[in-house]
């Protein structure tokens, strides 16, 4: 007499869809962990990535030692500043008479800066030759004012406690607010004044396999008049405080300067005040994780095999006889595979990062080598994102293998689109290449970027999203086919 078909037991066993799915995930996990070759493939993800990190960075160490300057991810803070102290609340107003079109993003305007040192908090309202009036602060915040607000233009900046507000006007009568920011803990005495900056001009020539990049510093120039600084409580007066010059340009030959005659200021300066865009700098974090391109191959192989092993031996019939819900089986497989490859990918990318950091530190004599740590959120995003990337590639391979049912077909179908953009690198115009990177699953590699370069195609998380969209579509098609086809 069958005993386990006792209705009570059966009811318990059939209780809750959550339990049912949990059982399925457990069963798929048992399947994965009990094939030694598959566990070795997971280990290969870790091994390949660590090895690639070691090779790539010891290579890089030589270049670095030859004097390539490396900077910490962060900001550039280079400009010429004609300034005077302002104690307490107050306002600075100036009329930008003209601005030389030295660069589309050349800047001329008013600034409040906490201290005269690189990286100190600031807020600025400014004009640009091509991008109108802007209010900027904290190196990464940028608010657009009127679009056609090139010089000549009136600008005003007020400081009230920690709050700095920027205004613009065509005629010094009708003022429009551009932006407002609360700068935490501004000292009571800040430096206010006129500033000019102008970023490097970049020319890129591409030939197959190599880029010829020319970065030339530019010098901006702007003329200001009607400059006034007014501390609250005193009457408006022409600026009669002591004006001083401060220059933080990093190109010695392109230092700034200023002249003043009858209240007309001519200021020259070069550099930029912004998030660091080292358009040609090496992304050391991305470099340390470059082994993902190899580790992903192992993940793709595992993903395909996890499904094709079922088709090859008719095991799929045993699987579907045990669990008739085919969509659920695929979901359970995707979760188990994704989880396992994420874990392996995380171990791999942490090891790869630490190994390459140690290697760089060992081989490089560059004193400017940035201190990169997993505690840095950008670095962490790249490292964890790489693990997600590897997991997504594995699940994509699972879905594609479900559709085509052959390992030898599934792996190239998954891997080639991921590799093509890097294979054709330098062989196509940059814009074509960038679109290729944005539209193929290879967009997922963007998650490894920690700096923005001249050839950056897509933002890190957006890129990962593109890959995830491919995975979602492939899973949907795979589910449909699994349900429709005979097992």
């Amino acid at each position: 007499m069958p005993t386990t078909t006792d209705p009570e037991t059966d009811r318990r066993a059939e209780a809750g869809t959550h339990d049912r799915f949990g059982r399925l995930v457990l069963a798929e996990w048992t399947k994965l962990r009990t094939v030694p070759r598959w566990i070795m493939t997971l280990a290969a993800v870790v091994g390949l990535m660590a090895l690639a990190a070691l090779i790539d960075t010891s290579d890089q160490g030589g270049d670095v030692a030859e004097g390539e300057p490396l900077q910490e991810p962060g900001f550039t803070d280079n400009f010429h500043f004609v300034h005077q102290p302002l104690t307490g609340d107050g306002t600075i107003v100036a009329h930008v008479v003209s601005q030389e079109d030295s660069h589309e993003w050349a800047k001329a305007g008013l600034m409040v800066k906490a201290r005269l040192e690189v990286g100190a908090p600031y807020a600025a309202v400014l004009v640009t030759p091509d991008h109108g009036v802007r209010m900027q602060w904290g190196f990464e915040h940028d608010v657009a004012g009127s679009e056609n607000g090139a010089a000549p233009r009136w600008l005003r900046l007020t400081r009230s406690g920690d709050v700095v507000t920027g205004y613009e006007s065509a005629d010094a009568r009708n003022w429009q607010q551009v932006g407002e920011v609360d700068l935490d803990d501004l000292p009571s005495t800040v430096e206010v004044g006129l500033f000019v900056a102008s970023p490097d001009a970049v020319v890129i020539k591409r030939q197959y396999g190599s880029n010829f990049v020319n970065e030339t510093p530019t010098r901006g120039e702007a003329v200001f008049d009607n400059v006034s600084v007014e501390a609250d409580g005193s009457s408006p007066s022409p600026a009669d405080g002591e004006w001083s010059d401060y220059d933080s340009a990093d190109e010695p030959d392109f230092g700034g300067s200023s002249t003043e005659s009858d209240g007309v200021f001519t200021v020259m300066g070069s550099g930029d005040i912004a998030e660091v865009r080292r358009p040609f700098g090496d992304d050391l974090v991305e470099l340390s994780l470059s082994g993902a391109a190899v580790g992903m191959l192992a993940a793709a192989a595992l993903g395909a095999l996890f499904m094709t092993a079922e088709f090859k031996r008719g095991m799929i019939r045993t699987t579907f006889a045990a669990s008739p819900g085919r969509g659920r089986v695929l979901a359970a497989k995707a979760i188990v595979l994704g989880g396992a490859t994420f874990a392996a990918g995380l171990v791999a990318s942490v090891i790869a990062f630490l190994v390459s950091e140690a290697t760089l530190r060992h081989t490089s004599r560059d004193p400017g080598l940035p201190e990169l740590s997993l505690a840095n959120l950008t670095v962490l995003r790249a490292v964890v994102g790489t693990a997600v990337l590897i997991a997504l590639v594995a699940v994509l391979s699972l879905a594609v293998a479900t559709i085509v049912r052959h390992t030898a077909l599934a792996i190239p179908l998954v891997v080639l689109p991921l590799l093509v953009p890097s294979l054709v690198e330098g062989g196509l115009p940059l814009s074509v290449e960038n679109w290729l990177t944005r539209l193929t699953p290879a967009a997922g590699f963007a998650v490894q970027q920690t700096i923005t370069r001249y050839d950056t195609a897509i933002a890190p998380l957006v890129g990962l999203g593109v890959l995830a969209a491919y995975v979602a579509v492939a899973l949907a098609v795979a589910t449909l086919l699994l349900r429709r086809r005979d097992a």
């Binding site: 078909t5 059982r23 048992t30 399947k31 009990t34 095991m315 019939r317 045993t318 006889a321 008739p324």
Partner: protein, 312 residues
């Protein structure tokens, strides 16, 4: 059986085509609890297709297959309702025998202890930790049977379970099938050899080219095939043959001293031979083997097949 638990397998009007080939053609039969039902037909007759349709793996173009009154795909813990052995080699070669059963058990919420029980039951306990790739076909067959037993299900399907088993194994599985039926389970066993089911099956469903040929009890089938045949042993075989044939009987020669006689009562055979002075050493009622009965049944289907092959 447990009260309220319907353990009948029902195939109703099932039709299945793969491209231009009709695999199963309007097939209906019932597998009842408490007996072993043989599912017989030549290779390619549609047996495996029918089993896959019962298990919800292939979708029939027409008709339905029900297990315990329900569609297989609606079962939440199917292994507790239906145990099946389809293909014993459908195991990942890198996986240990026990792990293969373990994932199946987990997927249906069957406790791990049951895995060891069924391994013991099929005599695979010593090989539990061996990888499937290193098991003989006979051991794989036992592993597949263990998998079918996992859920202690009231309905069991075995596709060619004798494949690869040694004579000991064959004796063992026959005993197992009978005892499973005796416990009140419905047991369906497919085979392309009727002789394998001799002494095992109570009932047979015979198919050829996807169509039902017979659905009958083994006893009735054998009786029908045996008809009124007599087996006669006599040293004067050729003389006896002509004598009986002239008297209106149908006679075929068996080996050496035996004749098979039909169309004549035993008393008359003995009387005729006695008159001529031919010694009669033995007269027995001939019992057809299941195989003979089957050959007779499928002759038409096979002829049709031969014609079809010639035409193509």
């Amino acid at each position: 059986m447990v009260a309220g638990m319907d353990a009948t397998i029902e195939v109703r009007g099932v039709h299945k085509r793969y491209g231009p080939t009709t695999a199963v053609d309007d097939l209906s039969f019932t597998v009842r609890p408490g007996q072993v039902t043989g599912f017989v037909g030549p290779n390619g007759a549609g047996k495996s297709t029918t089993l896959r349709i019962i298990l919800g793996l292939d979708a029939p173009d027409e008709g339905t297959a029900l297990v315990g009154g329900r569609q297989y795909r609606t079962l939440r813990t199917p292994l507790r309702h239906v145990g099946a052995l389809l293909d014993a080699t459908a195991v990942h070669p890198g996986r240990r025998a026990r792990d293969h059963l373990l994932w199946m058990a987990q997927s249906n919420g069957i406790p791990g202890g049951r895995v060891d029980e069924v391994l013991e039951l099929v005599g695979l306990r010593p090989a539990a930790r061996r990888r499937a790739g290193g098991l003989s076909l006979g051991m794989l067959q036992r592993l597949g049977i263990a998998a079918a037993m996992l859920g202690d299900a009231p309905m069991l399907l075995f596709d060619e379970p004798v494949n690869g088993l040694d004579p000991d194994g064959i004796r063992w599985i026959r005993g197992l099938l009978r005892s499973l039926a005796a416990e009140g389970r419905a047991v369906l066993v497919s085979s392309h050899l009727m002789s394998e089911l001799e002494d095992t099956a109570h009932h047979v469903v015979v198919i050829g080219r996807g169509r039902l040929i017979a659905d009958t009890s083994v006893r009735a089938l054998v009786a029908a095939a045996s008809k009124d045949q007599l087996q006669v042993r006599t040293p004067g075989r050729s003389e006896a043959m002509s004598l009986l044939a002239n008297a209106g009987a149908t006679v075929t020669a068996g080996d050496r001293e035996t004749l098979t006689v039909s169309g004549m009562p035993a008393e008359r055979v003995v009387a005729l031979l006695g008159e001529r002075g031919l010694p009669v050493m033995e007269v027995t009622r001939h019992r057809a083997s299941l195989e003979e009965a089957y050959m007779e049944l499928t002759r038409d289907a096979l002829d049709y097949e031969a014609v079809a092959v010639e035409e193509s």
